[in-house]
């Protein structure tokens, strides 16, 4: 009698502990915490800023996230620069409405400033350890999301002899055909273009002057068009050769679908990589939705969505080892075996200062 009872009780205890162990496992192990999902759904919406739909395939990321969790996504200013995003956080400190950005995606050099000014709150996604150390803040305040590599985007219907390297830009056959995709005093893409030119034309990561000199040469040769190049000006043939992040150039190539034909070429001597970083606003009105968004972006699913947009997701190497990369997307990603520079935050900020200061005097239009 006693043994039967004891056996019964023991079985219950064993079963209970097994159940508890099983529950415990799911609540700490997987990428999306069910508590987090519940809290995020209760908040109901997420406000993002500066996310064009064709930039790294953010359009798909937003709709996939929204569909998966039923959370509405408010999209503010898709054209915002990093400074706009920071100003938006500051201006909306007391605002719990849909104008306050929950999450931001800014340039690599802005990391320290975000922490200094108390604009972001720390959060470590469940895949935190697979993010390379140089690309994240150790305390979790910001973390790299993806990177791209600078390339020539060429309208190959207009420019039949596609330039292959930096020195080609000086050739007389390209008169009036080359432009930057931004103002180096305001656009990360344009600034990195000058930085990259420095690296492979006599400068180094700590000496950017050569980049300024190079562009002066291009300008003096009459090859430079002082306009901000976009997909439209490339397609029109007005600026058939531009410097762009490879993911943007490849996206352009897809959108234009042969009308005109676009060639994406990495300069042979080498190029530069640009990292962007994610962070959650310290004043986010929907902190749980923000955290869930991060979990989504840093999950295999989210990283593969970026990969489809031709961006290198930050967990690329980790996923490659684990074999979780989307094979189709990887196949579409162009390979480049030449040197790719990854400047540090300090190097970027030093380069910024010099380029912004000198740009007008070196290349500026002489206005009478």
């Amino acid at each position: 009698m006693h043994t039967k009872k004891m056996f019964f009780v023991l079985s219950i205890v064993v079963i209970m502990s097994m159940l508890l162990a099983a529950c415990g496992k799911t609540s700490t192990g997987s990428a999306a915490d069910s508590d987090l999902v519940k809290a995020a759904k209760a908040e109901g919406s997420l406000t993002v800023i500066a996310l064009p739909h064709d930039w790294c395939n953010y359009g798909e990321a937003i709709s996939a996230f929204s569909a998966k969790y039923g959370i509405t996504v408010n999209e503010l200013n898709p054209d915002a620069g990093s400074a706009d995003e920071i100003e938006a956080i500051k201006a909306n400190k007391d605002n719990k409405g849909p104008q306050a950005p929950d999450v931001i995606d800014v340039g690599y050099g802005f990391g320290p400033q975000l922490i200094e000014e108390g604009l972001v709150q720390p959060y470590k996604v469940s895949t935190w350890d697979s993010i390379p150390d140089e690309s994240k803040d150790p305390d979790g305040y910001w973390y790299g999301d993806y990177y791209g590599v600078l390339a020539f985007e060429v309208n190959s219907d207009v420019v039949t002899n596609v330039p292959q390297d930096w020195s080609d830009l000086l050739k007389p056959e390209y008169a009036g055909q080359f432009a930057l995709s931004g103002d180096p005093r305001a656009s990360a893409q344009a600034q990195m273009s000058v930085y990259a030119a420095a690296l492979y034309n006599g400068g180094s990561l700590d000496d950017v002057q050569a980049g300024l000199d190079f562009f002066k040469q291009v300008n003096d040769a009459g090859n430079f068009v002082p306009v901000i190049a976009k997909q439209a000006t490339v397609a029109k043939g007005e600026t058939p050769i531009i410097l762009r992040w490879d993911y943007s150039a490849l996206a352009d190539k897809d959108t234009l679908a042969g009308n005109p034909n676009i060639a994406v070429v990495y300069p042979k001597s080498g190029t530069i990589a640009g990292i962007y970083i994610q962070a959650i606003s310290a004043y986010a009105p929907h902190p749980n939705a923000a955290k869930l968004w991060m979990e989504f972006l840093y999950s295999d699913e989210g990283q593969n969505i970026w990969l489809k947009g031709y961006c290198h997701p930050i967990r690329y190497n980790d996923m490659k080892e684990k074999g979780t990369l989307d094979a189709e997307a990887v196949a579409k990603l162009p390979t480049f075996d030449g040197p790719v520079a990854f400047p540090s935050i300090d190097q970027i900020n030093a380069a910024k200062a010099l380029i912004a200061d000198q740009w007008m005097s070196v290349v500026g239009a002489d206005v009478k």
Binding site: P52, N74, N77, D79, A91, N95, K230, Q231, A232, T255
Partner: protein, 269 residues
């Protein structure tokens, strides 16, 4: 006299034609480009792509409605004020003109962030509800349109003898609202309608303020989103928005057609 008339006609037509050319050429170039979405052929596919996009209809409807409210608030705010200043407080004219020029020199991004800071917390809490946000949006647009509306109405007032009209009406026993709505406004009809045009155009295309207050719900941010990566659609969108705004203004014009041609009290013709 007939000679002068003919000469005048010639010059008038000449200037109009020159002006129309100036307008048409850039628009035609955009139009031509928008037809080339299919390689080698001219096609309207970039237009059908825009019309098929539900966001296009939602955002243009949103901005048109905001535009209408902005027109109403602008005119109700500015016209009586400009009239009153001319009539009773001429010493304020300089200050009000200067204020009306401020929206040109204060960057829109400063205005929108300043407005968010000022009105999102206590005691207004405007941004916590959609209605409040739209109120703030209309207010900011009235500010943006202020330079144009004030100048148009002030020019209209300059062309009529405000004092004489007012005193004549007063001597016949008219109340202030009668004077304003039945004497002054009818004489300002052209100025008011032109202000309405300027306001509507300002609202429909506006980007910065809308992008931070309501994001891609408004037409300006929607155009920017398309413009970033859809070359041909962005050109056709520019043409479409031009034509639709023109059409809407034509409606406003027709709505007032009956009284445009009738002689106003102090206007000529």
């Amino acid at each position: 006299m007939a000679e002068t008339m003919k000469k005048r006609s010639f010059w008038s037509w000449l200037w109009i034609i020159l002006g129309v050319l100036y307008f048409i050429l850039p628009l035609y170039s955009t139009f031509d480009f928008s037809l080339r979405a299919k390689k080698g052929v001219l096609s309207l596919v970039s237009y059908t792509n825009v019309f098929k996009d539900p966001s296009f209809w939602k955002t243009i409807e949103f901005s048109l409605i905001i535009g209408i409210f902005t027109i109403i608030v602008s005119i109700i705010l500015v016209a009586p004020t400009a009239y009153w200043i001319r009539l009773r407080l001429p010493q304020l004219r300089g200050m009000v003109e200067f204020i009306s020029m401020l929206p040109f020199v204060v960057p829109a991004i400063v205005l929108v962030f300043g407005a968010i800071r000022a009105f999102s917390g206590a005691p207004f809490y405007l941004t916590n509800t959609f209605f409040g946000t739209y109120v703030l949006l209309v207010a900011m647009y009235v500010v943006l349109a202020l330079p144009f509306v004030y100048r148009a109405i002030d020019t209209g007032l300059a062309a009529i003898d405000v004092r004489a009209l007012t005193e004549a009406a007063q001597s016949l026993g008219a109340s202030w609202s009668t004077i304003l709505f039945k004497v002054i406004f009818p004489n300002l009809r052209v100025a008011i309608i032109n202000s309405a045009f300027l306001t509507l155009a300002t609202v429909i295309g506006e980007y910065t303020i809308a992008s931070f207050l309501v994001g891609i719900k408004a037409f300006g941010p929607y155009m920017s989103l398309i413009g970033q990566n859809r070359t041909y659609e962005s050109s056709s969108l520019a043409i479409i928005s031009f034509l639709m705004t023109w059409g809407f203004m034509g409606l406003i014009q027709i709505f007032n057609r009956g009284k445009v041609d009738s002689s106003s009290l102090a206007g000529a013709r």
